[in-house]
């Protein structure tokens, strides 16, 4: 996979990332708490990966941070202000089916720009540029169901970033992809995020993915947050430090 990504940012100044913080938070649906006493401090511009077994509340955590699910107890803040509702500041990327199937790729990416009130010509130009950034130049008119799973996730990524969010919340975005496509998407994500300063919370059940992408890895349910040695290199998979870290994570998760 060789995706041409220009490092010049789409807009002149990328918005600064936000600090996201949960303290003593109980999250879940009313009457159905999934996690309680949750403490997490995510620094501005950081890429935090969150791992944990299925059903441990990873998606709930993201929906709480997005403002879609109010915390049942405790505090959930963005830059020390409580998060009470969804805002364009915090974009959400879904595992699959997040695109509107009746809109082609470009019109999906235009949606956040339309909501921000940009004029038609400007939205069109920006959406086209974002699609080029994720390697989908020339596929602007394609409908989601005519695209592969990997291409659809590229469109979702372009759509999330087009809104110039200050935080990107990603809910197992590559979980439905085959291993080869997933590796390519991880590289693409790293490249594209380099042009933004957004804070990223990336949920996955794949420990290797969490280690490759994350500045830090949070183990949901155990309260542990581990630092990951930089720089990111795929070859680091076999290095003793990474192997030890992976072993530690797997042991903590009890898998």
């Amino acid at each position: 996979m060789t995706t041409q990504v220009s490092t010049s940012t789409v807009e002149t100044e990328a918005p600064k990332g936000v600090r996201l913080r949960l303290s003593g938070a109980t999250i879940g649906r009313p009457g159905l708490p999934v996690l309680d006493g949750l403490d997490l401090d995510i620094a501005p511009g950081e890429l935090l990966t969150v791992v944990g077994p299925s059903g441990c509340g990873k998606s709930t955590l993201l929906r709480t941070l997005a403002g879609l699910l109010p915390a049942l107890d405790g505090q959930v803040d963005q830059d020390d202000r409580p998060i009470t509702r969804p805002e364009a500041d915090r974009a959400l990327v879904f595992q699959e089916d997040g695109l509107l199937p009746w809109r082609n790729a470009r019109r999906n990416v235009e949606l956040p720009l339309a909501i921000r009130g940009l004029p038609r010509a400007e939205r069109r130009a920006q959406a086209t540029r974002w699609l080029a950034q994720v390697g989908l130049a020339g596929r602007e008119d394609q409908l989601p169901h005519r695209m592969s799973g990997g291409q659809r996730q590229r469109v979702q990524l372009a759509r999330a970033l087009a809104g110039r969010p200050r935080a990107v919340l990603m809910d197992e975005p590559f979980g439905a992809l085959d291993a080869q496509t997933r590796a390519g998407m991880q590289n693409l994500l790293v490249e594209v995020l380099a042009g933004t300063r957004a804070t990223v919370v990336f949920v996955t059940h794949d420990v290797d993915e969490a280690l490759f992408l994350g500045d830090r890895v949070a183990l949901l349910g155990t309260g542990q947050v581990l630092d990951v040695p930089r720089p990111r290199e795929r070859t680091a998979h076999g290095e003793p430090a990474t192997v030890a870290l992976r072993r530690e994570i797997l042991a903590s998760l009890g898998t």
Binding site: T2, W102, Q151
Partner: protein, 285 residues
């Protein structure tokens, strides 16, 4: 018998089916067949065809036809707008569901044609009464299909727009209505069919002019070929209008994933998208 695959073969087969039905009709009536069913008094296909040809040259026929079409299109258009609006409101708002739900559920089982006395009492003119009955007939199928389609929407679409900073109106315009459209079209298809049944019945009871009125008139003066001309007219108009609804529906739901073989089938009710069908493909590299 295997189904033919070329489109021309299929059109030929459909035409042959209609012609065969006409042939059997002609045979049974011209031979005055009297088995258990009695065809002795029944007008022959050729008698009806002669009568049809004659009527096509009269102004009254066209007046009847345009009157019926105006009534049904008015009633149906009102029902489409009201059915989609109320169905969406009930599906999206608990208050609307509580306020309107019970009332509508009580009214729904009443056959529209049973509302003729109500229409006569309520409306100043027969014309408005007939439109009201046509409206009621189409309203409920549209309402119910809209309610179901809106409730069945994937929550992720709404969450996506919410996290882009979109409000209620944006969600309505960009997610709810386009997403529910395939389901709503099913209700519109059913609605236009039921509308025909009711407009004809209402015309028979209280109309002046109109295909239903003329058909009943012909029956009372024992002009059986005339009655059958009326029926054929209703059948053709009904076919025409429901095809128009289907074609319009397919035009606005071109985004729905369809198997390539379906291209050869001009008339089919739109379905929900098979959104999970293509998740394991490869990225372009």
């Amino acid at each position: 018998m295997t189904a033919p695959s070329s489109p021309y073969a299929r059109y030929a087969l459909r035409a042959a089916s209609l012609l065969a039905a006409l042939g059997i009709w002609q045979l049974l009536t011209s031979q005055h067949v009297n088995l258990w069913l009695r065809f002795a008094q029944f007008p022959t296909a050729t008698q009806v065809a002669d009568e049809f040809a004659h009527r096509l040259g009269t102004a009254v026929y066209w007046q009847d036809l345009t009157d019926s079409l105006t009534r049904i299109l008015t009633g149906f258009a009102l029902a489409a707008v009201a059915g989609i609006a109320v169905g969406t409101a009930i599906a999206r708002s608990r208050l609307a569901a509580d306020l309107l739900g019970p009332l509508l559920e009580v009214l729904r089982p009443i056959p529209a044609i049973a509302l003729v006395p109500v229409a006569i009492l309520l409306f100043p003119t027969n014309e408005q009464g007939i439109v009201f009955i046509t409206f009621t007939a189409a309203f409920f199928p549209v309402l119910v299909s809209t309610r179901h389609a809106v409730r069945a929407l994937t929550p992720v679409w709404e969450e996506a727009v919410l996290t882009m900073g979109g409000g209620r109106l944006r969600i309505l315009a960009s997610v709810v209505l386009p997403g529910a459209l395939p389901g709503i079209l099913g209700g519109l298809s059913v609605g236009i069919g039921v509308s025909w049944i009711c407009v004809i019945s209402a015309e028979m009871i209280s109309g002046q002019y109109g295909v239903g009125y003329r058909t009943w008139q012909d029956y009372t003066i024992v002009n059986y070929p005339g009655v059958l001309v009326g029926m054929a007219t209703i059948g053709l108009l009904g076919w025409l209008t429901s095809t128009a609804v289907e074609v319009a529906g397919r035009r606005v739901t071109r985004w729905l994933p369809r198997p390539a073989t379906e291209r050869a089938v001009p008339v089919r009710v739109a379905r929900r998208p098979a959104a999970r069908a293509h998740t394991s493909g490869r990225a372009a590299s």
